[in-house]
Symmetry: D2
């Protein structure tokens, strides 16, 4: 392939790597994306045209406000920020003007809350593009995903005369915590899509390997619970208090005991609990982070319903108030054989791809599953692949991706898919 | 005192001792009482005139029906049984025809669920009047209480010309489990009472001792909880079940944690739990016996309210149905100094009473507290005393009372009280 | 096939059906079996030669003693009872005298605790052979299994000149609760077995259907827990008590929360809990019935270990004593293709078998899995099949098996297996 | 009284008020105290001569190290800091040289973790001596206690010729959390004390009022629990994790259910719980703050023992590690009538004391109870009084004490006590 595309993607990727942004705060990243897409001549949909606010989960308005301020201080224009309506996420649209299918690729943009290592041998330290933001890092490779999207955009313009139909490049916020997929799937911008391809770097594939996932991922919901009791001096007036701590503890142990489900695997995680104000005061506040998973969507919903019922009932038992907030959700992966077969055939054809890795039933969760489901729901088709890199574990401070070699893998897969499906 | 009264009381007591009857089933005992009162010329109120059905607790209609059948087989007439309307408990009324106060004494009639010992040295075996009914025994001395009532009745008739005002002898069912006191207190028969005196045999007093209680007893409520879930095969369809067992278990441990109360001592007892049908079936049924106590009536009510709230909330959490039934209740003891002082003075005057035992703050609960409260509520006055016997522990199969010596203690206390307050 | 075999099996089955016996108490049934085997000339191993006492689970010596007494009253000789050493279960051995493989069939003998219906249309009522023992019934078809064993025994003798090798007919006690399989597998009598075939009536197969199971069943353990606390009056001395009830409740809710296992499905059932003596006494005794399952043996062991650890720790927390007793266990089904293929081929050849039903992954548990495992462990081979009947559900009072038609299915499968493997 | 003493005490109090120091970090305060005592000619015992390290509770070495650094930066000499051996707390000793009793007064020095109000009308803002340290404030009046000690020291020197025996002024660290009393009581410096008087400002007394406490305070223990589990991905490997969070939650709800005690009131408070690292990781760490109280020392010990047993057992049940650390303790108040009567007589004699407030059974806890107990243990005598101020609640940011008027109350009580007991 043309080395210019690689160089360009590498450059974008390193620029983005230096300024990692958490879910729903990707204003600097998105500014790069939108600016480039517009330079290239793409029409760009953003704000509430790209994000359906009714389906937004796990977005903290205060954090967003601070992020917009920070972006502004780093040179993002007020005009652009206004255009976002406070929502990160956008879709670049290329109309070839020729009849043909609507094909969409998805690229997520957010980072994870991890401190990048200061090991001088770590690739971003060697290359002088390590994270400038303390405690934040692109340790899941979404910087790669976004850069590939921009590389593909360039290629589309270079090959515009050979293409037909419409091509949509979707740049998603907040994949971590599975928050941004659903509101983009409900934006209306997927309603005419015929083919959607999503991909991820790393996981079970090494450099030179492509994984084709036809099914898998557990459906999941991320839930925040809070409890509010009444304070009282624990020594003199214990009867006047209502302990949010004890209510939360009973909820936690009861959640762990949600019955297994004969219809499919389930998971329940009570990951965090913070409760109480002082040793001798009946605790007023408790906050809990919960996550459920299910082998199927109904099995996951079974878990969600149980969490809500247990929380409500036990809060009443302890006479405390509660809130139940779903702050993230993903469904299971469904794909179309047509797309998966095409991707597998393409992978076999790429000279530097040495191996196709069977990748059904990958554990974990991914919210691009909502995007694919939406396309499937009106008769469109979709697929998912993994492109490899040699790494030491995702979500860790020493995560590496060898960008010069890994980015071309995805670039080839996606541009060849366009050649297969949108060839004029 | 006249030995005839003693002999008569002893005879009644032994007759009753042979046929012990549980709370709400005292048809044979009551038959003896009513027959004797009518013989002596007392007016007798019974059925729903003596028991207010709205306040009845812990009465099992099936058990009552069986008891009526049994009584009939032991010679109680159908006419009498009809008169009871199925409710044990009655009040014998003696109108002297002379102006004077209305004075009431209370005598309870029920036995406890205990097997009487077959030790040949045990007093009822020596005297050949041990319980004929397996697993039931007058092991709390209510046979003594009832007999004293009949002895006093005889004395009243013998001394009718020396008395003024009205005298009411109340014979109460179901003191065990604190069930019969409240519905008698709400019968209307206490509304004109000026003086009420209640008493109990044993507890902290030996033969020759009288205890005067001016305050004490914990308020209490006895509560039956039941839970109904949904069955399912625990191996193949655990998600379809709703475990009444687990709901009950969570209720039990949560009840134990009801916060202490700065306003007074509290108690919570989860005494029994039976749940489940088989090892591999999600349990459908659970039944639990609970008891709470409080140093004051509001503190006890605080416990009752908590039990109900916890049961309701946790049942909802586990998606099971529940029932909450109060099957017994007693309040704290309040008395009048006038009555207590009179009783203390009388006790000091009785030659065979050697010692007055300070008896405030006796632990345990007593439902004559409702009767005294009712009298106090309209300006009447009340008191409580203990008459001693040498015993090996109440509610045990070897409980003894030395009736020839202990019955006269109470007889003297009560007849002298009438001489003090209802002397013509 | 020869109708005589059918008639004989039907007769035995109905005789056994009338006298159902619980696990470890099958003395009358076994008496029939041993008598018949000896009549036919089989060598019979029994007592501790057939049952390894070290591996016995869920056997109540008191229940066994009563059963032996009952059997004696129903004509079983003392000599025979002595021979059993108190252990039901035996192996009939036929040595052909010709070289050839050792082949074993397994037949279980115990009934379930279910009341047989008195519906006059129910087949055993029509045929006048319904259960004579209240609350006990052959509602899982083990009477059929045992009778087929006796039919096959007769056939072996009739065809002794056509057979080679050794044939062992294993009659197992206590399959319900998965108790008898393990101690027979450890008796030594399986150590030389080359082929083992086990079978069950009903489940997913109708009359005229044979199911071949190559894998399936969940590994399971049945566990009895007991807790012993200290009594105290809940009102006056709550601090002196140690509540076995509360300890058991905490154990129950904690068991429900044993973490899911990523290595395979798990199940936990707390099926029964009985605790406490009276409403106002701190409960001294609690008994709990628990069952765990796992998709693999290690996953099941993970559950067992957790149950023990939770029970131990929480008992300590509540300062109560506990016992942990494994009263039943089964492992997962492993089979050999050679045997399964042979069984499938035989089934296809039997004229009155209309359909072969795919039966891998049957849910539930079976302790013949231990027997097959033992044979496989030294290089032998094993298989499992189901022979159909039209029934309304196992373990129900109206379970039926149409013995004239269903018994021949199994008889044909087993005798043809001998013709295939032990043909002289 | 002499206004000079008042002015001096007010000056010291305001100086100390500006530099509040938490328990075990009172290096600046103690520097003032020791410097002044030495100026006046007192012998001063400090370091491990005043604090018995074996009995130290709730002292964080890291916090102490930072505090010593801070004190140094505020002018405290290294020499002095070395002398403390890192332990705050000291005893000033005045030997009169004349035979007579050893009399001790106790003054505590630490502040509370409360932000002082910036209300301009608040007395320390009016007087320009409000706290210079964010989040820390003398909101319990220990600045007053310490200043009174220095005032009394001056008075002693001024009246040295009128005094006999020995006078010891004990300056205690870490009364908050009831941490410093016990290690000072075990220093040896109380072993010869004949009279000890302790006092506190505020609580139930207004300006011009003195309260005499003869008994009261609940015994208490402050306990820190921590749990350490094992991390695992909650989605893929839940069986590999051990949840410190769930263990802590079960401990919390079980602690709440420690049985009531018939021997005396109990209290249990689970005030704080922080657990877990992330939503989808099995929680490794949990920390909990617990407090128990008992109406008597054995009843309190009953609670402590239960907390330890429950923690240990449940940690084992969940297979997590735990630590149990007692970080504070106080016992119940016992006093001598001789001292209390003397104090009451003195109070009645002070012209500006208008009222003696009955103050038995004050709720809350105080660790001077250890000091008094120690003196009583060898036949010495002790007492406790309260001196009033008009305040808006202790431990609140607007706590005020009207130092010109309140400090003389305590000064008079203590110096008059010396005149009564140590008059030459």
């Amino acid at each position: 392939m043309n080395e210019n595309y690689t160089n360009e993607m590498v450059q974008f990727r390193r620029q983005i790597h230096k300024r990692p942004e958490e879910g729903w705060t990707e204003f600097e990243t998105m500014n790069i994306v939108v600016k480039r897409l517009r330079e290239l001549g793409f029409k760009v949909e953003m704000g509430t045209k790209a994000i359906n606010p009714k389906f937004v989960m796990g977005r903290d308005p205060e954090l967003v406000a601070k992020a917009m301020q920070r972006a502004k201080e780093h040179g993002v224009s007020q005009e652009f920020l206004d255009e976002t309506e406070g929502y990160t996420g956008c879709v670049g649209i290329w109309e070839t003007g020729r009849p043909g299918p609507v094909t969409m690729f998805r690229h997520d943009m957010d980072c994870v809350i991890v401190q990048e290592t200061d090991d001088p041998k770590h690739e971003s330290n060697v290359g002088h593009y390590c994270s400038e933001r303390d405690g934040l890092m692109h340790a899941c490779g979404h910087d790669a995903h976004t850069s590939v999207g921009l590389g593909v955009a360039h290629w589309i313009v270079d090959h515009k005369d050979e293409l037909c139909g419409t091509i949509k490049l979707l740049f998603q916020p907040a994949e971590e915590g599975t928050r941004g997929g659903l509101p983009m799937s409900e934006s209306g911008l997927l309603d005419d899509v015929n083919y959607i391809v999503c991909c991820h770097i790393g996981t079970n594939c090494q450099l030179g390997e492509i994984g084709i996932c036809r099914k898998g991922f557990l459906a999941t919901a991320k839930i925040d619970l809070s409890f509010t009791g009444k304070p009282a001096h624990a020594g003199s007036d214990p009867e006047k208090g209502r302990s949010a701590l004890l209510a939360a503890c009973n909820v936690a142990t009861t959640l762990a005991g949600i019955p297994r489900n004969g219809q499919g695997d389930t998971r329940i995680s009570i990951g965090k609990l913070n409760a109480g104000e002082g040793r001798n005061v009946v605790p007023v506040h408790a906050k809990m982070q919960v996550e459920v998973r299910g082998q199927t969507e109904p099995v996951n919903q079974y878990m969600v319903d149980y969490v809500e019922r247990i929380t409500k009932g036990i809060a009443e038992a302890y006479d405390v108030q509660y809130t139940f907030e779903k702050v993230g959700a993903a469904t299971t992966l469904e794909t179309s054989d047509e797309v998966s077969d095409t991707l597998e055939a393409i992978a076999k054809d790429i000279p530097f791809i040495k191996r196709i890795v069977p990748s059904d039933g990958i554990s974990g969760s991914e919210d691009c599953t909502w995007l694919i489901r939406k396309v499937l729901s009106h008769g469109g088709k979709g697929g998912f692949f993994i492109f490899g890199c040699n790494q030491h574990g995702h979500h860790k401070g020493d995560f590496e991706i060898q960008d010069e070699q890994s980015l071309p893998e995805a670039f080839e897969m996606l541009t060849r898919f366009l050649q297969a499906k949108n060839h004029a």
